[in-house]
Symmetry: C2
Subunit: 432 residues, 2 copies
Amino acid sequence: MDRRDSVSSIRVFSLNCWGVRYLSHHCAERYAMIADMLHREKHDVVLLQEVWSEKDYLFLKKKLANSHVHSHYFQSGVIGSGLAIFSKHRIQDTLLYRYSLNGYPYMVHHGDWFGGKAVGLAVLNVGTLTANVYLTHLHAEYSRERDVYLPHRVVQAWELQQFIRHTSAGADAVILGGDLNMHPQDLGNRLLKSYTGLRDAYAEADHFEGCEDGLTLILDNPFISKHVIAPFEKGIRIDYILFKGSCRADIRCASMYTTKGSVPGHPFPYSDHEALTAKLHLDSLAPSEACGDSRARSCECPQEEVAQLVDILTEARTEVKVGVHCARRMRETATRTGIMGLALLLLELAIAAVPWLAPGAQKTLPFPLTSFYLLAALCLAILLCTTLLYVFYTMELKSLQGTEDQMRLAVGGLQEKLRGFPVVERQESVGK
Amino acid sequence: MDRRDSVSSIRVFSLNCWGVRYLSHHCAERYAMIADMLHREKHDVVLLQEVWSEKDYLFLKKKLANSHVHSHYFQSGVIGSGLAIFSKHRIQDTLLYRYSLNGYPYMVHHGDWFGGKAVGLAVLNVGTLTANVYLTHLHAEYSRERDVYLPHRVVQAWELQQFIRHTSAGADAVILGGDLNMHPQDLGNRLLKSYTGLRDAYAEADHFEGCEDGLTLILDNPFISKHVIAPFEKGIRIDYILFKGSCRADIRCASMYTTKGSVPGHPFPYSDHEALTAKLHLDSLAPSEACGDSRARSCECPQEEVAQLVDILTEARTEVKVGVHCARRMRETATRTGIMGLALLLLELAIAAVPWLAPGAQKTLPFPLTSFYLLAALCLAILLCTTLLYVFYTMELKSLQGTEDQMRLAVGGLQEKLRGFPVVERQESVGK
């Protein structure tokens, strides 16, 4: 058998499993359904998100021991990253990159912070080719009109594209799957696709079958709260399979499928998200000299694409700057509240100390002891909380400013490229 | 002028600046000295660690505006990463990877946690070549005999080598500089060098001038506490410049220098660490077919090196397992203490409630109100602290377990390689 033939196509599956134990509906039953389907379908690569419990991962691992011998669970944060990969092909290496920003720990009801959102990389040997498979889940969007997490998601999209660009130079093919929590034309999505050159499997598939417009959160799914996607008529598309080749391999999407809410023969769907399956065709190319040339690697894009990228980056920088402004304001509020708590405490102590200091006065507290202790406890609680918040907002500010610095550096570099990169390097600063 | 000649050598400088404002001795004067020297010496690449204050970075940036037009400050954590790079060559791109573990926030006197230790990557255009320059600072070693931070440092070394391996495939040359806080033969150092193939500039330099044995923390330095390095006679070597080439460029270290404590004409040295300068020679190689071949890339090491790497990895895994054990024990202690705090609180409330529940009894507290409130506050404080600690230790545990998973995967892959990688992939699990 020609070895190359055996690896010319690769089937990639992606699903946000909605695996919050005791909270998600029919969690155990759905995992059993997912395991059966995966074992039957035998996709080459299975990318799962929101597998929050390691026990559920181990359950799937056991069930898929024959169909998918290689697997990895990405550990992160307090609960975990929720990311799991199952593969028919050998996983040669893995790497996890935790996003520097991921919501707020005190937004307990949203819970994203505790998940330790990240992007996982698994380097697969697909026959003679090396495929870098990325798996991620970005911060959820709880309100499209008042999306306080937008700067965080833009930073995540920025870090995701950076991570992919920097780690994929040695890969013959790049595949990214996951729940990006961004609509197709959202800023972070445009940033990701234009900077990395990743192509959308749904948009490029020769043949598509599934939900209209490739939607992945649909009204027909019984687990979906109607009000969440009501403004978008039929639903939204936030789960993706993206891919690109290299100078060593061509890649194209032959077909793509999504589930359509219900699963035949079962009372409910696999998850609140629809599952995606893409069949990608890989073709090895003969090694060319251009592959090894760093000049060729650094100037791949035509001018109009670079100009477009500069526009997107400028938009992203603005969004991050809004985030910097908000984080600074929040930190100031925390500081002011902390100072007020301290002042109140000192005032209380001063009032309490008066009878002891004033000669001849009665040596008793001028207010009930219960009020004294309750007020003191309140002040101390305020001081503690505001200190923790100050530390947290400082870290948030650093991450946002760091991203903005990197974006400015990138814009500078791209503008230099637009002007036509000079032979002798111009003596200009690109830093701030 | 032949362009290739102009970039055939590159001078790299690395220094841990000990820049803790108000705490480090003569901080401002030392930064002025450092700026003067850097401006005079005009190294191609300057890698600074412990530039904790952004103001000091901006001071250096202003002073070096003519000699080093390109620069970047890596933001991270609460205080910052302390990492700054100045370069004569264009910085094309940057990326920061925060280590998942970096000490404990309650070890305030050690302070490492607040620094947000990380590895920074700057992609430089050195003439026609692309150089990936890495800059890092690992967790300090406060006691060699009882090094509680060893598992954290091993995880950092693991993440450092992973990050370098995964991001350097597109680079023609790789340079790493910084304070690794590891002796030359320490586990993390061996892991880093064997896995990445990075070579030690001190060991490979054709010509060396400086402290005996290349030491970088020496007794002759007046800022060094004698008891810290007393067990090591003359001092220790924990700062490094490492490098490697690629199939597209050869690299060798022509000469290496270190400072020797005092600086001629100044009353004190630049820092408590010695500064390193390495002169590296870069030679472009003609692009070869092997460069673009993924098979060639994945099987570079001879068998004995792979075997040695398996041994080192096994040693590292053991160390990480010790860390897992300790983190689990600490989490259990936090849980037990939390439960005791809760039990005490409930007991107190029960005793206080007795007079109200028992018919006919006097409706007063059986103990003074002050004690009641103080004990309740203590219980609540215990509950809050142990909850925070539980969350922290859970995150620590996840990171350690995640690293151990990745190490096991790597050992599996290497052992497979040792047995001679089969043409048809064996149906064996490499995951856990």
